[in-house]
Symmetry: C2
Subunit: 499 residues, 2 copies
Amino acid sequence: MGDYDIENLEFLFNPKSVAIFGAGKDLNKVAGQVLLHLKMGKYKGKIIPINPKKETIFNIETIPSIKNIPEQIDLAIMAIPKKYIFPALEECIEESVKFVIILTAGFQETNLFDENSRKEQEKLKSMLNLNTRIIGPNCMGIASTSSNLNAVMGINPIPLSKTNRNMSFVSQSGTWAARSMRCSIKHDLGVSKIVSSGNEIDLTCEDFLEYFSFYDKSTQVIGSFIEELRKGRKFIKIASESKKPIIILRAGTTEAGSKAALSHTGSISTRSNLYESVFKQYGIIEATSLSELIDYLRAFSIFLAKGIMPKGNRVGIYTVGGGMGVLASDKCVNEGLEVVNLSTETIDKLNGVSGLPSIWSHNNPIDLIATRDFSTTEKVLKILIEAEEVDMIISITPFGISHQMSSLENLPDMPQKIKEFNEKMLQAYHKSVVDHLLKMAKISNKPIIIPTALYSTDFPYQYEEISDLMDAGVCVVNNVGDAAKTLAKLVKFQEKKTK
Amino acid sequence: MGDYDIENLEFLFNPKSVAIFGAGKDLNKVAGQVLLHLKMGKYKGKIIPINPKKETIFNIETIPSIKNIPEQIDLAIMAIPKKYIFPALEECIEESVKFVIILTAGFQETNLFDENSRKEQEKLKSMLNLNTRIIGPNCMGIASTSSNLNAVMGINPIPLSKTNRNMSFVSQSGTWAARSMRCSIKHDLGVSKIVSSGNEIDLTCEDFLEYFSFYDKSTQVIGSFIEELRKGRKFIKIASESKKPIIILRAGTTEAGSKAALSHTGSISTRSNLYESVFKQYGIIEATSLSELIDYLRAFSIFLAKGIMPKGNRVGIYTVGGGMGVLASDKCVNEGLEVVNLSTETIDKLNGVSGLPSIWSHNNPIDLIATRDFSTTEKVLKILIEAEEVDMIISITPFGISHQMSSLENLPDMPQKIKEFNEKMLQAYHKSVVDHLLKMAKISNKPIIIPTALYSTDFPYQYEEISDLMDAGVCVVNNVGDAAKTLAKLVKFQEKKTK
């Protein structure tokens, strides 16, 4: 195909109108789900359900054919049986629909055991042209906060991000695309745009990476889940020229994974180390797990939005548990960060903190040993924020109130007076760990990252605290290792930028 | 010191009586907390609060001095100012108290800036003898389920495990000791015994590892958080001779971490790779993060209790998200597991599963592509349990009900009818993912591990599902990488055992 102006993706993410082929009332069917999501998500444009049997769904009248619509259609979504896709696509091309998302599965990805499916994908390919671009087939859809576009299949609507809408994501895994959107529900991941690219018969993840990198002003952070890069040269050009962090999770790097990928999105990936070396050379930030991916995306999203990236690699650690401090120091050093020696000035200031026991560690990490004075966190963090030798801060502050409360419930025999005493203490503690952290995160000109230092499947006990922090855009990760890894990525990106 | 019969630790974990020095009503003070914990935890022995001012606390009369007690005291706990520790310890030695736990901090660990503290620790050392053994100083205490002994400092009582009480843990980090106990509250970690060993002036982690390995019948899995091994030869002997899995998280492996450790427990660790090679040679299972530590402990605890360890390294993967399957395959291969080709017999059986769409992946991983038939999980898992070529199973089953419900709440405009429809669907889904998994986990003679495949700080959305599974002793981890790593450790241990 010839040249295509990638800037046109603007119409995909901010379409004036969306037509849904096969839209019906049945929410067990994908087309019905998408229609519901568009409606419930308060999509800003016009929704046009297409159904030969004229009916009214969610107070919107369906239209029998796309040919009946006088206006220009920016986006059409197809979740119809394979055999209907070809005539529908022909109609879209005739009507100059700008983008078609094909959610329907069963093409190239099943070719291992179905030659016919491969042929159908080839037939689709032969229909490609520059006026009507295709996303998919075999994808989950797209979402875009700027137009409240929630064109995603699934059981129920996914509300879009409320704040920090600066992170855009393209995923060759549909599940993961949907999943990352779900992460944005309460603990705001700052989603601007999400694309599930599926089999990539036409538009590939490279196209979206290009758009996010060079054309989309609302994107500050770019993420991707890839099984195979189809346009290597284009990818390298983007990676080397993009001024935005690009964070990628790769799958299909082993033979077994590669085989699985083939039956997933129909891609043939490679287990060579080619990707790894390309990523390294061009400063792509690689995540090795879903958790890392979200950690990195969230941290970049938060700190770039606030404009407080680390100026160097020197980290100050505050801890109320010695073992955690030791572990955090190891993890920082292993990630190339410097657990900086505190200056005499900083140590003097810390010695003056009421509430910090005289037996505090007297260096970095700042270990409280044990204290009941709940204002210490704020005082210590303030000194670290002011310390010239510190570029970023890890605050290991145990959370507890919801956990502790649930623990109290397990002890029904406890005398009322003691229960009340405990509750009072716990509330004071909550005030310390959450309010003080929030206050400091707000005034800080340095990244502060908060490892909960608790095992994550036990998180529900601390949900209240973490929820408060996340909602306020404070960067919370699961444990000290995650904190070190995440900060190291920020530092690396800053180094690349200033090179 | 001469020989000591380590079997005597029995009296530490099942003491007939516990004396608490300095016990008072003030719950801001550690001695008061410990007294409360013992009482609330329903400790099976006699509690003896010692306080010169005779008073009644929680309906127990204090006794002015340990000399006033006619019977043998098995355990004394001290959380009193340093200067009182020496006379109190002298009294304990005179009265032949078997064990003394010194919670008080401020000894060796502060010697970087306080020569006097070091001297005090030396003085303590000079008082050591074989009749009265010391745990600590600068520790958090111990817990033992067999005697309902909850001798731990902290804000409030920590209930002990209800089931699978086969995991014992010794930690040089007090925070971590307390933390792992907290993990056992609802999501049963199967705690038998936990020891915070602190500065290890007398009894060290090696002593506890020896006891757990060779003397304690109730322990099937052993865990440890170490900053420094003080008795290297003993450790190697235990590691090479123990028939139980020993899982260790090391801290203080870098210079910065080591420096932090010095001001934490007063230990001087080394950043050499000595530990690493010793661990490898003697089959110690190394965890590199708190999450890994808990994952491994929990998995060994569950599968050893059930007696269903993997017979080989061949893994079967079931997934309802293709990308997750690809990622899981990679992670398995990277961990030395085989993503086994399914036999013709197994594939034939799977083809016969109603509800599995005809476009399912037709090999391992078993990818459903998309289905609304909620009984598929159970049917597929049953076939994998029966498959001779499969030694263990990863079931990537998205959870959802609590998450989806919370998502519905965010859409108040949704028509009531649709809301009800969604709720019905979600409940059916919940039934599928939880009930079916539980049913299969119960009948399985192979380990089944369930990655939630969602980012953990977003766990609260799935809390209900995970809670149900964990409570039933099903092995849930955060993501596919954790699942692969955990299963690989089981395989490695089995290989070591059968060598």
